[in-house]
């Protein structure tokens, strides 16, 4: 069987769980699928997930699972795996999964394949596609070392609305023993650094700048292009890390997720962490000196060239009319 571990917080389901369910349905072949909901109080999530076309939903509630810690989740999930003995365990590739899935794999000494963007074949013969070398290459990998293989599904790689529904799966409670004394992390409440002054999610057009801009003194070029296009300025992570633009203008998994009418990627190579934040944009333009840059894989229009020549030429063209 395939076990999908849902992600939830305070009884609210993370939508990426549906993407993992869609991936599980594609992978399954003849294998049945069960979804596990893990947490202190999971509310109506089990009922919500029971509408998926799956064999069953397992609810594993324990007070020690709130707030989230990698130690408690590893304890809960290893007990769950021990009791249901799946062939594959699928999880959405969220920050929470990235925190505990390697610990879980190490604890039970089973393979973990992260960041999966596609699955070839079904059942035990399946191979998993994942980016390597900053997205410059795609690797097909096979787990080694026996079942279960843990697999994390990249956000946006499978469509949540492709998950087949129409099931009325049985919901079953599972009793868990978690040793609260074994939890070594004591988390405080999540917080936001500063009020987000700019909501890039509302922008119609975005000009985003990456490492290709080379230095802070060139940022005004991107700002000028944005102004000419009626766009907001945004950036990939390294630009914000350097303090060239404020963190609140960062696009990607650690920043904002946007889907504007027009997204212009200026000197952005297109690492997966950036792509997940912008690939839903309606029209994507990529300008990069490297013809092999992964950003071109998601672009509608591409120009291979020196952005210091191309951007001024676009500004001049827009100012003409």
């Amino acid at each position: 069987m395939i076990l999908v571990i849902a992600e939830q917080r305070d009884g609210k389901l993370n939508r990426a769980t549906w993407e993992a369910i869609a991936a599980a349905q594609q992978l399954s072949g003849a294998m049945p699928i069960s979804i596990a909901v893990v947490g202190a109080t999971t509310g109506g999530i089990a009922q919500e997930l029971a509408t998926a076309s799956v064999a069953g939903v397992l609810v594993a509630e324990h007070a020690a699972l709130d707030p989230y810690t990698p130690d408690a989740y590893t304890g809960a999930c290893s007990a769950l795996i021990e009791s249901v003995k799946p062939t594959f365990v699928l999880l959405p590739h969220t920050y929470q999964t990235r925190d505990f899935a390697p610990l879980l794999a190490a604890r039970i000494r089973k393979p973990l394949i992260t960041d999966v963007t596609a699955i070839n074949g079904t059942g035990a013969d399946a191979t998993f596609v994942r980016p390597m070398f900053q997205g410059k290459l795609a690797a097909q990998v096979k787990p080694q070392g026996g079942a279960p293989a843990l697999v994390t599904i990249q956000i946006g790689a499978f469509r949540a609305d492709a998950a087949q529904k129409g099931g009325s799966a049985a919901v079953k409670k599972i009793d868990l023993q978690i040793d609260a004394a074994a939890i070594r992390q004591k988390p405080e409440a999540p917080f936001r650094e500063a009020k987000q002054a700019v909501d890039l999610g509302q922008a119609e057009r975005i000009v985003a700048v990456g490492r290709g801009i080379k230095s802070q003194e060139h940022i005004p070029l991107a700002e000028k292009l944005a102004k000419a296009m009626g766009a907001e300025v945004a950036a990939s992570r390294p630009i914000c890390d350097n303090g060239w633009l404020p963190m609140e203008r960062q696009i990607g998994s650690s920043g904002q997720t946007v889907a504007p009418k027009l997204y212009v990627a200026l000197g952005i190579s297109g690492a997966i962490q950036h792509l997940v934040g912008m690939k839903g944009s309606r029209t994507i333009v990529a300008i990069n000196k490297d013809a092999e840059a992964p950003i071109f894989e998601v672009a509608d229009y591409g120009i291979v060239g020196d952005l210091f020549e191309v951007a001024p030429a676009i500004i001049a063209e827009l100012e003409k009319s």
Partner: protein
């Protein structure tokens, strides 16, 4: 595990040598790995931030910073670079097969070489720019029997415990209190990197690099059966020509075809 009172800190930093960002991928004949003879290498960027954080913690609390790397002979270059930036000594787990090994093998190899050192704190980058599993640090923590926390943006050591700032999605953060010894995976941008001075480079030549061997019987957890340039998910219209012509064509298409301007 009993909490350890830390007077001065013994900090390990795990670094990996990866292809440079400018490197253009070329595959080996069996298309299961890259053609290594074409590659120029550099220090994995998140590991460079982990190293910087370790150096800052040492400056604040005293102690030593030990660089640990698992890889072929070539990784000596990044070990020397880390020593030049200020690390005190190094451990090199050397074997040709480690250049393409997966996270389980690397973590097990590092754990065997590091376990007797009894480090107070182990730092790694959150993932590597080559295979990018994002697993090695956390597996290493489990093998060393110490707690871990990942994607860390601030580290405040307070006696026998520490408070660390973990990055969550979408601009959210969370402070976590945990005991020492522990392992943290460090996010890029946690600090401003320093670069090696000439004095540092000279001093690095005299610093100790302990060689360690790979334990027998390490089992990989996955096998790369194929490596390829990714297929495009979209039909990309590539616009060619001189900058002025390309700009004109792009603007025309964005107005008339995409109706995005």
């Amino acid at each position: 595990m009993a909490a350890r009172i830390v007077v001065t800190m013994k900090i390990a930093v795990c670094i990996k040598q990866v292809p440079t960002r400018e490197w253009q991928p070329r595959l080996n004949d069996s298309k299961t790995w890259i053609r290594e003879q074409d590659v120029s290498y550099e220090m994995n960027e998140p590991d460079a931030y982990a190293l910087e954080e370790a150096l800052r913690l040492r400056e604040k609390h005293g102690g030593e910073v030990v660089v640990c790397s698992a890889g072929p002979a070539r990784v000596q270059t990044v070990i020397r670079e880390a020593l030049a930036r200020g690390a005190d000594r190094a451990i090199h787990v050397e074997h040709d097969s480690l250049g393409s090994a997966d996270a389980f093998v690397i973590a097990d190899a590092l754990a065997a070489a590091m376990k007797d050192e009894k480090f107070d704190l182990v730092l790694t980058g959150l993932q590597s720019d080559d295979q990018g599993h994002g697993q090695t640090g956390v597996i290493l923590a489990e093998r060393l029997g110490i707690p871990s926390s990942t994607i860390i943006m601030d580290v405040q050591v307070e006696g026998s415990s520490m408070r660390v700032k973990r990055e969550l999605e979408g601009g959210w953060f969370q402070w976590i209190v945990m005991p020492l010894p522990a392992l943290l995976t460090i996010q890029s941008g946690i600090n401003q990197l320093r670069y090696a001075t000439l004095k540092g480079i000279m001093a690095a030549k005299k610093k100790e690099i302990r060689k360690a061997t790979v334990p027998d019987g390490l089992q990989p957890a996955q096998q790369i059966v194929g490596l390829a340039v990714p297929t495009r998910s979209k039909q990309t219209h590539m616009i060619t020509g001189a900058p002025a012509d390309a700009a004109k064509e792009l603007v025309r298409r964005l107005r008339d075809e995409a109706r995005a301007l």
